[in-house]
Symmetry: C2
Subunit: 132 residues, 2 copies
């Protein structure tokens, strides 16, 4: 497969693009993370979401520790080619490292960010049983 | 209303945060744009989406030229407080300056970005009739 499609992406000056993960089944927006060229290429080749961790400065296969992988159903690019939208199947029913279904669990209500999603599993139990 | 909620936002080093607009009625992800502090504050105060245009370096009230405003239904913040999700009512049925319903109209298919959303209105007719 030609990689010409990768050339069409408008990476920012750090070589990154924001990637929105939307749950295919429910339409819920789960999270926003970042990809570099290698992350997007690996995502497409493997069929699993792989991001670039800006804090750890390395590729990060979503779910590598938690098992909460994201299976790619479709990948969209926007009009300016500077944002991607992933349609995913979220394994384990949760995308957020806090143990919630999605990362966008805070909603502005009367001047405060209210937490509006339950914690499904404690972060300790998500990450402590992993050998990774 | 206290503005403490604005202090909770983790702006990037340019003072910006990515903002995803999702259509409340359909769940479709319409676009990703950027906000600075003033844009987010104005969005909340006015009830209409206001972004920061990185190319024009000014506040940009979505729909100011096209009439395709976005009425805010809810605003979410993610776990790291560095991305916002707007639930919106999209006026005019289109968010994209290309005249499509949404900006994420390109989908990766067999190594190419295929356009998978119809043009509902030509950009010329969207923008040329405006006095703004």
């Amino acid at each position: 497969m030609s990689l010409g499609w990768l050339e069409d992406v408008a990476w920012n000056k750090e070589g990154l693009i924001p990637a929105i993960a939307q749950e295919d089944r429910t339409g819920q927006v789960l999270m926003l993370a970042w990809m570099n060229r290698e992350a997007l290429e690996t995502t497409v080749q493997s069929g699993y979401a792989v991001y670039w961790s800006r804090s750890r400065k390395r590729l990060w296969r979503k779910g590598e520790q938690s098992g909460h992988e994201q299976i790619i159903k479709a990948i969209h690019l926007d009009c300016d080619s500077d944002a991607v939208l992933l349609l995913v199947e979220q394994k384990g029913g949760m995308a957020c490292h806090t143990g919630r279904h999605r990362c966008f669990f805070k909603r502005l209500e009367k001047g405060n960010w209210a937490s509006v999603e339950p914690v499904l599993k404690s972060p300790d139990s998500i990450y402590n049983n992993s050998d990774e």
